[in-house]
């Protein structure tokens, strides 16, 4: 079998693109200045229009263009919309009314199971917006028009919220924006330990820093380039000590021989370093993949073991571990989390109502109700 492509990525804090692409007109933005200062030895290319660049393939199809795209950082001015409804809001699944703010598209990490491999398959670059002010103006217009609603907004849907912070410095503006509004909760979701920029700011109740966690056995093997389980936990502890609310997502939940012990140990490790009575929320979400993504995982990560569980097609077309097994795993993990964090908000991601009901009892909440619980 060929060797897996995704190995040996540098630690997150030292991630460097091979080239920095700057769209003309963005050279003097704060984001571009910061990135150039942080990457003095990385070649810079000026391009006229990011939209044109984005249509240009960087590698032949058989040479992992997705992986190649991750090594080219493009700073550009986004002309379209920034805010979107979370993709987890699929008909037939319980939704939590989450909004995603897309300031970065793609990720320096290369998790074997990542849906971006399909969603951004032909993207030739890792894109980050330089016009954060435009993005925040759009969000402000939405939030200020509905002061009676609280908006949970996250930047970690098609990117890692913090992995590029040493280069971009987006969080300063984001955190200031959320802090200034009573009806916004900003979630920064990450697999990194890049929290120094955040820790340099005044912490706010309106900013939740959350970590996607898998047991070390999965993190070490399947999440190339990310911070280790221990490093993520240490970063979370630092954030909590500084005054931030933190959250944890066991997503994807991966089924393998011995996984229950590993997840139980992971919960114990969290409980030993985090004050779980102050956690913002916890979520569980089984590994899910379209048939196309499964094919990509097999092709790009031939050593991966994430597809070796008993996954079958679900009603939404995605493959998940068959439902009675998922329910069993959710119940175990939810039980350990409930024991460790009795009062914490705990929810499932991308699951149908009957799974909610079987895991938690009662009737699955409506999106608005769930959104309120998680505020």
């Amino acid at each position: 079998m060929p060797a897996p492509i995704a190995t040996g990525a540098p630690p997150p804090s030292r991630w460097r693109p091979e080239v920095l692409l700057l769209e003309r007109g963005c050279e003097d933005t704060a984001v571009a200045r910061r990135a150039r200062a942080a990457l003095p030895d990385v070649p810079v290319e000026l391009i006229d229009d990011a939209r044109t660049e984005h249509r240009r393939p960087v590698a032949p199809a058989d040479a992992d263009p997705f992986g190649a795209g991750k090594r080219r950082l493009l700073l550009y001015r986004e002309r379209g919309r920034f805010l979107a409804a979370c993709q987890a809001g699929t008909p037939g699944l319980v939704c939590c009314n989450y909004l995603t703010l897309n300031l970065v598209s793609n990720c320096p990490y290369d998790c074997s199971y990542c849906f971006l491999q399909e969603y951004l398959a032909n993207n030739p670059t890792l894109k980050a917006v330089a016009n954060v002010d435009t993005a925040l103006a759009e969000v402000a217009a939405v939030c200020d028009a509905h002061p009676e609603r609280t908006f949970r907004i996250g930047t970690g849907e098609i990117a890692d919220s913090l992995a590029l912070e040493p280069l971009l410095g987006h969080v300063r503006d984001l955190a200031a924006f959320a802090t200034a509004r009573r009806n916004v909760v900003l979630e920064l979701k990450t697999k990194s330990d890049c929290v120094d920029e955040l820790l340099a700011l005044e912490p706010s109740e309106r900013v939740v820093v959350s970590w996607s966690l898998t047991p070390p056995a999965i993190a070490d093997r399947e999440e190339a380039g990310t911070a280790s389980f221990a490093a993520r936990l240490a970063a979370a502890a630092r954030c909590q000590a500084a005054g931030y609310r933190v959250g944890f997502h066991f997503d994807p939940l991966v089924d393998y021989e011995g996984c229950e012990e590993d997840y139980r140990d992971a919960v114990a490790a969290i409980a030993s370093s985090i004050d779980l009575s102050r956690v913002a929320w916890l979520s569980l979400g089984s590994l899910r993949a379209t048939p196309r993504l499964r094919a990509i995982v097999r092709e790009r990560h031939p050593g991966s073991r994430v597809l070796l569980g008993e996954q079958v097609p679900s009603r939404d077309g995605k493959w998940r571990v068959f439902q009675p097994r998922r329910v069993a795993l959710y119940r175990r993990l939810a039980g350990w989390l409930r024991d460790a964090a009795p009062g914490a908000a705990l929810y499932l991601c991308m699951e149908p109502p009957e799974v909610w009901e079987r895991v938690f009892g009662g009737v699955a909440p409506e999106a608005r109700e769930l959104g309120r619980i998680l505020q």
Binding site: R305, E310, P313, F322, Q323, P324, E354
Partner: protein, 181 residues
């Protein structure tokens, strides 16, 4: 011609003759001679096409990676050899071979399905009542279908269903469907 070379030629000939897709072909061609030969035996015996081979080879590779049980060991099991030797038509053999390999690939799911089938048989609902589960057990909804041609048959089916309910037989079914440890 060496044995391995003869095998390689035979596999390539099968791939060409049956228009096997590139991904499946590449997978098959990188297998060890023993594994490739075991698959060729089955493929020739059951005249497997590209889709059938695709599913089978994927399951076999997953089993090998997870359980350290190679394709030759899985396909050479007595149960599969027995199916191939049985006086059955090609499609029946294919169905049984696939079910057997699937049971190795999905041990918990297959065991649960077997136990649910046994639970349903134990309900003794008669020939007019069918109990069906969602495909892949993706859901908690069970379909109970009653097909009758006369009132007496309906009365019999309803009585059997009532007896099964009273005896807790359906509770056992739903309980088993609830979770798989």
């Amino acid at each position: 011609m060496s044995r391995d070379r003869a095998l390689d030629t035979a596999v390539r000939a099968y791939i060409a003759d049956r228009h096997i897709g590139a991904v499946v072909a590449a997978r098959w061609l990188r297998w060890s001679p023993a594994d490739a030969a075991a698959l060729l035996d089955i493929a020739e015996a059951l005249a497997l096409g590209s889709n059938q081979l695709g599913e089978l080879t994927e399951w076999l590779e997953d089993i090998a990676a997870r359980d350290a049980l190679g394709p030759a060991a899985v396909l050479g099991a007595a149960e599969i050899r027995g199916i191939l030797a049985a006086p059955l038509g090609r499609s029946d053999k294919l169905k049984r071979v696939k079910a057997r390999v699937r049971a190795v690939r999905y041990p918990r799911l297959a065991a649960l399905e077997r136990n649910l089938d046994a639970d349903v048989r134990a309900l003794d609902l008669g020939p007019g009542v069918t109990v069906r589960f969602p495909p892949g057990l993706d859901g908690d909804e069970v379909t109970v279908e009653v097909r009758v041609r006369r009132a007496a048959q309906l009365r019999d089916a309803v009585e059997r269903l009532a007896r099964a309910l009273d005896a807790g037989g359906f509770d056992r079914v739903f309980s088993r469907l609830d979770e798989a440890t």
